[in-house]
Subunit: 381 residues, 4 copies
């Protein structure tokens, strides 16, 4: 695809994801962690405006002077912004006005892209990858917010729970491995520098943990025995009175989960999703195994199939050797989140086409589980 | 007006108040204390359905079985309900569906009203007064929620701040007075029984406190001196870093306030609004005076003009002698709130026509101020 | 007793209450509402120093310049003070130093008292009544704090639970009654002015509610049915998962309560204690009755026996007509607490001898129950 | 030293640290993170009783059946325990009783040690290292708790702030290094297994950051510019209104800090202490450098002097390859804390003699700073 085609494709895909929403849904925000669809649509547009058009398009007129305040996500160096938990309160600008904003910026962007300046095309690629990140969030945020509605509406079917193909364990030999992005394709700054790590021998499961296996853990008293849990995980279990993955519920002795396609009976052969790091690690402990590190995962990834779940690793989100923060506001993209978060590898059913790669590092706080987070086991040899 | 005309008039007025809203605004809820417009429209409809149609209209079919859960406000005896702070999350049912719900119930109600059964007409009057209470809340809730939007939208002009007419102090003689509702007109249960109280002599101001007088209090260090404040009021000032009434702001040395008609320069001759009980009492202390009791207010009300502000009294919200809680869920209407709240008397610019009367007892927690709450002074003689 | 004898008696009684404490106990503070014994001993001393010696004793040298900060309770106009929830952190000054402080101030006070100046003797009487209030708190605070210790230590036996004497209902006739303190004896400012109230006819129980009657309420599902409760009371029941009075526990199907003399089997004939206003009101509702107002209680008190429990009334704590706040810091004694609290009448097993009288107004927030709070029923006729 | 001598030495040292405390101080606890001295003395004793005497000493009689509940720190598998923030409420058992408990257990331990059973001596060494960890906490907890007392008492002089010796930067070559404990000496489970890591070339400062250098950061607006901070660090700065290290204060334009020997004027040549991970990382960013990883630190440690400050690294606290959790309750010692914490290397002025070694891994949540935490800089080459 040409860069113009890519641009149109990605921008249109965001709208496509909203095809079944009613106007009311666009402002929906059920917690601080999630954002309303309208905000995702506007923020990704603001990103193009603020980082590409304003500095590079001569005579560019910003669509609305207050949109910088309204749709900045977390760039402290770009000034104040709407409190994260109040994004749902922005009923104005309307959905129509946000669509107009998208059109306005898209037209300006197309004109700028047509100049084919390398530095700008780099930024365009960043903007499109940024938008794809938000496409995934749009889906998972929507699922989380709609789940609060007792009517449990159906919005789309993205194949959340499909059967797992059984596959053998993968063995990794002790030695030096190269980790991190290589080549000229797009990557985020946190995937660099490519560097050497020394790994001990280990085995990694070729198959993700299934809903059925996770139920075994629950039935074996997994949520009642502190010995399997991190201390903070155990506190989370007790304080939140948790007993199962997010969205699971038991009705008349039958386990169900809420999906974007409505509430469904659980498919026990499908890979478990919506567990947090504490749950993933506790499950692994119960099995007498552990989670892989992100380095083991990357070193072994060619030997197993992946892509339906973001997979928790036992690696904290930290900079690679020689990691450099970009100058200016774009420097706030990744580095400042490198504390108290765990790395996930892979991709998920909500990941936009073309957005995943083996060196991609996703990261979340260990207690969160509204993404399609799953479990792959490992063991030292 | 006939009861049919009243019914149509009140029901239409709720819609009229929403005339300038866009679809997005109907779900807006900025705090637990306020509700979204859509919820007000649906809840007042549910009230007719649940308390009148279901028990009295043979063969009545409820519009949607889950609406009882969605639109119950606080009637514990009618089952579970949406958490108060999550009313804004109910993007479904849509605004259109709520309008349909209103039409459906209105038609059924009209058919029931036409039977002219006295007991039912009593309930209809309660339902209409209930809706009028929510009309006032719809206005004040909307103001509060829209204020959170940096765009500060304009929605309507209800004449929030008009000049005060100066009037002399009213003197009340010591003796026995009759308090509470009398006659056959509609009143809430908390206005009964009419009973005798013994009052000492006092004077009550004929005029409400103006914005200019309140500014004098601010300029005299009113918010910096604990001696004027209740202990809890002082804690509120300190914890919230408060220095002025709600909605006030200073821009370039000029005081302004947010109104439903947008941000405006303050009119110093108009009656102050949006102060809480702590602020009202502190102002009175600073003046060397006090707030009237609700009994003094009612005994003297014929001698002064009122109706633009709800006026804080120094009376706690408590039952009158012989107060009886109605049997069934309607018994939850008033009695269970009779602790930790202060009484306000009068009415406000947001009160629907025909909804105010001298024995009306409004009540709020002392720290709240999103209603059009004002100050009238009194002094013992 | 002469004023000198009274002074010695009250001051010694505070120490007598601590006779079984070990040094460690003197700093014990289990919540913001309660204070450590050492703090009570020091604060009551500081009261004499700050309000009597400093202004009236020429050449008086304050014992320690920082004690004003350390032992001020809530007098905002006297400067900053230790945060209320950090009183237990003041391990220095030591218990010995506080005892020395008491001796130092006592000697100075005795010398000042011997001058027999009327204005000062007035203040001394206030100081002694103030100390007696703290003696009651010292007992109830100690009980609450020690209850947190799994060893459940025994400290003293004050006869917390003695049998009730059955007595007939008292009838009150409709009419005007005089309420408030009369005569030249000591009273607090909140008992003035004596004034007329108009009361409707009612009946008041001659007997307090017993533990056995309260158990009936519990067994009848009192804590499971919202219909009996204030809305805030019901929220308290649910949020705190409450099912019985404070200190009650069930061991092997046997109900017990913690007392200052250790854990004991419940005496079902003794008056219930440690219920809050919500519980008292819910119990009364369940009985189809109500709590008396403080005016009804005072008007009828000669006809029933009282003194073992502080009795909740359905009156909010508000000023009497003509109530005046004293000038200076002593003006902070009572008036600033007149919001969001309910009045209790009577006295309790923890009240110091000579400290109770029929016009005494005690007051607490409706959710609190660490005092010996009980229930007396009333009903309108 | 023989194991008997070591036992006596370590046990006595705990008491020596309390030499200037008064009885009241022994129960002092100013926050959930810190524990009272009495608790440290009892808990370290309980550790010997529970993990060594109970399973290994035939006929051993536990001193008091409830001490397991009172003095268990966090071993979930050993049953319930006192809430961490309520340790200061345990005024009983008294200090004297805890001293008796120590004597009782010490005598039993000496008799058991004299049998010279290898497995038991292993456990004794663990118990002594455990007690030394608590000796450091006892000092830092005491400092934190006493700081809340406006009298700012002096307790001991441990040389908190001595001048730094300037030393050159240390260069580390790219390649494979061995990390983790080696040999037969004592180490904790988290220092194993010894394993290979691949490191890129870097330089590590031979000198710790001084108070003076840290002041430069403050004066350069370090606490006002988000660009230097992790996102969570910036939120911490804003929410807590932080502007300097813990214990620092400015009086009459002069910077001071609270020490265990009272408040003192800051020594600008001494190494900064009491900064958290966010502050350490922000300082490094401001310098255009970074913190070392724990692996770089360990690989280079022979080339620089260390021991007065715990030094923040940019490594998250995670298991080494092949890390194994011990069976039983001792398995809760370290592994369950391996999430959301950062590693510190070195030792501090509060570390007991003989307790530090180069492979020692200390760890704390990134926002904490009541330990003597300092900063050593690194840079990639």
């Amino acid at each position: 695809m040409s860069i113009e085609e890519q641009f149109n494709h990605v921008r249109n895909h965001s709208l496509f994801l909203c095809r079944n929403l009613i106007t009311e849904d666009f402002s929906l925000q059920a917690s601080e962690e999630v954002s309303p669809p309208k905000w995702h649509l506007a923020h990704t547009t603001w990103f193009f405006e603020q980082f590409i058009l304003v500095p590079n398009q001569p005579d560019y007129v910003v669509k609305h002077p207050q949109f910088n305040f309204l749709f900045n996500s977390y760039y402290n160096s770009l000034g104040n912004r709407t409190a994260r938990n109040q994004r749902g309160l922005m009923t104005r600008p309307s959905v129509d006005e946000v669509m107009e904003y998208r059109n306005y910026v898209d037209n300006e962007m197309r004109s700028l892209i047509s100049k084919k300046e390398t530095a700008i095309l780099e930024l365009v690629r960043l903007g499109l990858n940024h938008e794809q990140q938000h496409q995934e969030l749009l889906i998972t945020d929507l699922k989380f917010s709609l789940w609060h509605n007792p009517l449990e509406p159906k919005i789309m079917d993205i194949g959340e729970y499909l059967d797992i193909q059984e596959a053998p364990w993968v063995e990794l030999k002790e030695g030096i491995y190269e980790i991190g992005h290589e080549g000229s394709g797009f990557c985020f700054d946190n995937e660099l520098n490519r560097h050497k790590v020394y790994l001990n021998a280990c085995k990694i499961s070729g198959t993700l943990v299934s809903n059925g296996e996770y139920l075994d853990f629950m039935n074996a008293g997994g949520y009642e025995n502190p010995i399997f849990w991190h201390d903070e995980g155990w506190a989370w279990v007790k304080n939140q009175a948790q007993k199962s993955p997010l969205y699971w519920g038991k009705q008349d002795d039958r386990w169900t989960y809420y999906t974007l396609d409505g509430r469904q009976v659980i498919n026990w052969e499908a890979p478990v999703a919506h567990v947090n790091f504490y749950e993933a690690a506790a499950f692994a402990n119960w099995k007498g195994m552990r989670l892989p590190t992100e380095f083991e995962w990357e070193a072994a990834h060619k030997e197993f199939s992946w892509g339906s779940r973001w997979e928790w690793t036992n690696s904290a989100y930290l900079p690679y050797p020689g990691f450099k923060i970009a100058p200016g506001a774009l420097g706030e993209y990744n580095g400042k989140f490198m504390v108290n978060q765990m790395v996930l590898r892979g991709a998920s059913v909500a990941t936009s086409e073309g957005h995943s790669r083996p060196t991609y590092r996703n990261f979340f706080h260990p207690h969160l589980r509204w993404q399609f987070m799953g479990i792959r086991l490992a063991k030292s040899i």
